[in-house]
């Protein structure tokens, strides 16, 4: 069976100058939830819009369900539901009218009211779109994507600007869609979202994939599962990086905003040694925490930058 979404050596150059996507390869199996993770401006939206058939790539091949946009665009559109990063739906239509309108474009749509119930918008069915909160609008956008009864769901930053409760509701919907056999491609710059939702993900930076795998894989590749963060006072900062690197179980060291972050295998070996080393250097420990490594750490390790910077 052909992969649900496949692209090879995808490139997109705007106005012959700005290279938004620079040779991107993806292969997403049917039934997978795949995430594109990266900071703003990394080329995630350009990539997803090319895959959605809304943008022409400068070069490279795209096949969706084994078909190309050129030959089968209408069939492909029947099979996919999309939610763009920012669409302002008509404010003077009600929620029900909006979803009904979109259902009219598909040959075998789902019942609009059933989709509204799934997206917990039933109470708002007769409210004007202009009167909805940000979270409700976002859910309506996903409802317009689901009403066509798609096989593939493309979601561009679906939870940006949502409150925690709405985010969790949306995550449930996406998981439900996937469990019913659907394929999902989403972009996000939230690590927790990618970790919880995605079977596999690709970290995108400057239009290229810099790492790809399951969330656990990527964290594994970081070296250690744990992070030890601390802050010390004292004068001898110059050579201390080497001191921390030499501690037992430390995979990598990075300085971040006055904090030292150690990526470690076994915190129970590292921490006692750390305390001794601090004392030997004549410094005081001001702060110390340990936590599980996250995708954010993977990203910082790979790029030297945080996801939300820029």
């Amino acid at each position: 069976m052909a992969p649900a979404i496949q692209c090879r050596d995808l490139r997109k150059t705007y106005d012959g100058q700005v290279e938004a996507v620079r040779g991107l390869n993806l292969e997403i199996e049917a039934g997978e939830c795949f995430g594109l993770l990266g900071p703003n401006g990394a080329g995630k939206t350009t990539t997803i819009e090319i895959l959605e058939g809304l943008l022409e790539p400068t070069s490279g091949q795209v096949t969706i369900l084994g078909q190309t946009w050129k030959d089968n665009s209408r069939e492909l559109r029947e099979a996919m539901g999309i939610s763009l990063q920012e669409t302002r739906l008509s404010e003077k239509l009600t929620v029900r009218e909006t979803v009904t309108l979109f259902s009219g474009f598909y040959r075998h749509p789902r019942a609009p009211l059933e989709v509204l119930e799934q997206m917990q918008l039933t109470e708002k069915a007769d409210a004007w779109v202009g009167k909805l909160s940000g979270g409700q609008r976002q859910r309506l956008a996903v409802a317009t994507a689901l009403v066509g009864n798609p096989k593939i769901l493309f979601l561009d930053e679906p939870t940006t600007g949502l409150d925690p409760q709405s985010r969790r509701q949306l995550w449930d919907t996406i998981r439900g869609f996937q469990q019913a056999g659907g394929t999902v491609l989403l972009t996000t710059h939230y690590m927790d979202e990618a970790e919880r939702l995605c079977d596999r993900l690709a970290i995108v930076d400057h239009g290229q994939i810099i790492a790809e795998g399951t969330p656990a894989d990527l964290i594994e590749r970081l070296g250690g599962h744990h992070m030890v963060e601390f802050q010390v006072s004292g004068s001898s900062n110059g050579h201390s990086g080497e001191v921390w690197r030499a501690l037992p179980g430390v995979e990598s060291v990075r300085q971040d905003n006055g904090f030292v972050c150690l990526n470690v295998h076994e915190p129970h070996l590292t921490i006692p040694a750390l305390l001794v080393a601090v004392e030997k250097e004549g410094q005081h420990l001001l702060h110390l925490t340990t936590r599980q490594a996250s995708l954010e750490d993977v990203f910082v390790r790979l790029t030297g930058r945080h996801l939300r910077e820029e």
Binding site: L54, R77, L89, L101, F102, S103, G104, R107, H108, R110
Partner: protein, 371 residues
């Protein structure tokens, strides 16, 4: 999933729901048209600009330019030795009744003349002759000079060598309001067609709604068709309101067939829809499309004979003016409504409209930017 649970178990489904389409060919178009009409209905500004404004304009202009009973010419006679003589002569003249003469001091007379209070200043002198001060650029001033001269001469005893008589005649269809209503109908079709389509499109493009729509299997032609069709529905209401106002409030007579009027309006509306589509085919911002719209419509506001006849422009310009879509529409509507001309007699004008609409549609489809 839920659908499966709700479907009652059937022994052997001959055709599963996967192969029988639930939505027909025109479902998308129907829903788009319905949504567009609902949106328009819920937009009070649209209702005002499309329906209220032309009605107000027609009423206001109709009242301002209504035919006054008998035109009286206001004239100033400069006070002085011969002033009484002038008044006596005017009163004694058979034509004197249409002249209202006031004897005032010279500065006041000139001031009033400048402000348009008097059409003519008569300066008598002691020897019994008169000097007229008139403005050759003001038609009513020229008219007034002839009229006063005539009255003074006949009052002084001039005998006309040839007997003449005149009968006042005001044909229905020749009043200003009769001229105005078809013009307003045409202008309104242009305004609402261009703005209604062009503005809506750029707004939707700006809101990324066009992009969202083309991400569905929606037929792009259905979308443009639905937008045009929504204009046609509004057009029907506009015709009824404006013609109704003319007939009921101003006793206008509609001589041509309603079918021809409707057909001309439809051709006009489609033509301007095409022009609106073309104007808005690439613009990304409301501001830029506003400028373009005005650029396209400005020449037609001026040249196409909405408020005054386009025949007033120099003959060199006439062939060009006749090629403007609004001129063609206005002329065709006037000929049909006021003179009862048949559709066949208007084929040239209809052709002009169709050409504008057709060429615009084709170019728009080529250049149109959905994202």
């Amino acid at each position: 999933m839920t659908v499966a649970q709700q479907t009652p178990p059937t022994p052997a489904p001959v055709a599963s729901s996967d192969t029988t389409p639930r939505n027909g060919r025109w479902t998308g178009f129907r829903y788009l048209l319905m949504a567009r009409l609902l949106e328009l209905k819920r937009e009070p500004e649209v209702i005002f600009w499309v329906f209220g404004f032309p009605l107000l304009l027609a009423t206001g202009l109709g009242i301002a330019f209504r035919n006054k009973p008998a035109d009286v010419t206001p004239v100033a006679i400069v006070a002085g030795p011969g002033a009484d003589n002038a008044v006596t002569l005017l009163q004694g003249s058979p034509r004197g009744s249409s002249i209202r003469a006031a004897v005032v001091a010279e500065p006041e007379a000139l001031q009033g003349f400048r402000l348009g209070k008097y059409d003519l200043v008569v300066v008598p002198d002691a020897k019994g002759s008169f000097q007229y001060r008139y403005d050759p650029a003001r038609p009513e001033s020229v008219l007034s000079r002839a009229e006063v001269d005539d009255a003074l001469q006949s009052g002084a005893g001039r005998k006309d060598p040839v007997p003449t008589s005149a009968v006042a005649s005001t044909e229905p269809g020749s009043r200003y309001i009769d001229f105005l209503i078809p013009g307003l109908l045409g202008m309104n079709l242009m305004n609402s067609g261009m703005w209604g389509i062009g503005f809506a499109l750029v707004d939707m493009r700006q809101r990324k709604l066009l992009k969202r729509f083309v991400g569905t299997p929606m037929r792009r032609s259905d979308f443009l068709l639905a937008l045009t069709a929504s204009r046609l529905v509004l057009m029907l209401v506009e015709i009824v309101l404006l013609l109704g106002l003319g007939v009921l409030a101003f006793h206008m007579q509609v001589l041509g067939s309603l079918f021809t009027i409707l057909l001309l309006n439809t051709v006009g509306a489609v033509s301007f829809a095409g022009l609106g589509l073309l104007t808005a085919s690439r613009a990304q911002k409301i501001e830029s499309v506003s400028g373009l719209m005005n650029l396209v419509m400005m020449p037609m506001w001026i040249f196409s004979g909405v408020f005054f006849s386009s025949e007033r422009f120099p003959g060199v310009l006439q062939p060009l003016i006749k090629l403007l879509p609004l001129t063609a529409l206005n002329d065709a509507l006037r000929a049909t409504i006021l003179q009862g001309a048949s559709l066949g007699a208007q084929s040239g004008r209809v052709l002009v409209l169709l050409a504008w609409g057709g060429i615009s549609f084709l170019l728009a489809l080529r250049w149109f930017r959905w994202t």
